[in-house]
Assembly symmetry: C2
Homo-oligomer: 106 residues x 2
């Protein structure tokens, strides 16, 4: 199991990547990450909600109240154009980091 700490700096990007495929909310995004990685990565709640706050503050996502099925009403998030731009920058950075680290750890 990977720690969020090893993913530091890319948690925000993961969230944006998921939102780029459609609006969603906290719990669901957490589950989606877990599912897509086949349990290799489970983002912690505190890490996830801290990410939402940062992303909101920077204008990369917008929040709006969602429907309720059972329990507390959800807050849905939508990626903004600025968020898409930021994601593109992060993806590019990721490719560079990957290349650089691979030069040493192989």
């Amino acid at each position: 199991m990977i720690s969020s700490d090893a993913m530091r700096g890319y948690n925000d990007a993961l969230v944006l990547a998921i939102l780029q495929q459609g609006d969603s909310y906290g719990y669901k995004i957490g589950k989606e990450i877990r599912k897509r990685t086949h349990d290799q990565y489970m983002i912690r709640e505190t890490t996830l909600y801290a990410a939402f706050n940062r992303l909101s503050k920077n204008g990369y996502i917008d929040a709006y109240p969602g429907d309720v099925t059972n329990g507390k009403p959800r807050t849905y998030y939508r990626i903004t154009p600025r968020g898409r731009a930021f994601l593109a920058v992060k993806a590019e950075e990721w490719h560079q980091v990957k290349h650089v680290v691979d030069l040493f750890l192989n």
Copy 2:
């Protein structure tokens, strides 16, 4: 140019990877990183020496005084068996992180 911050958590591993190919010292390791990455990554002095301290404290590297050609005498570093083991763990973690992030940023 990549920031050390984007490399956070892997700077220690880079240093160990370089030391695994032979003992070396601060300045030289810094230059080696820059050279191998074709100027894509320049680790900052403070980051590098902070890494040495951490690695020493954890018993992953040993320090010993080296020869002098010009200027202050160098401190050489040698990787320890524990350091090699740690590097192996980090390399494995890196592969997982790479796989996970790639699931989202592609």
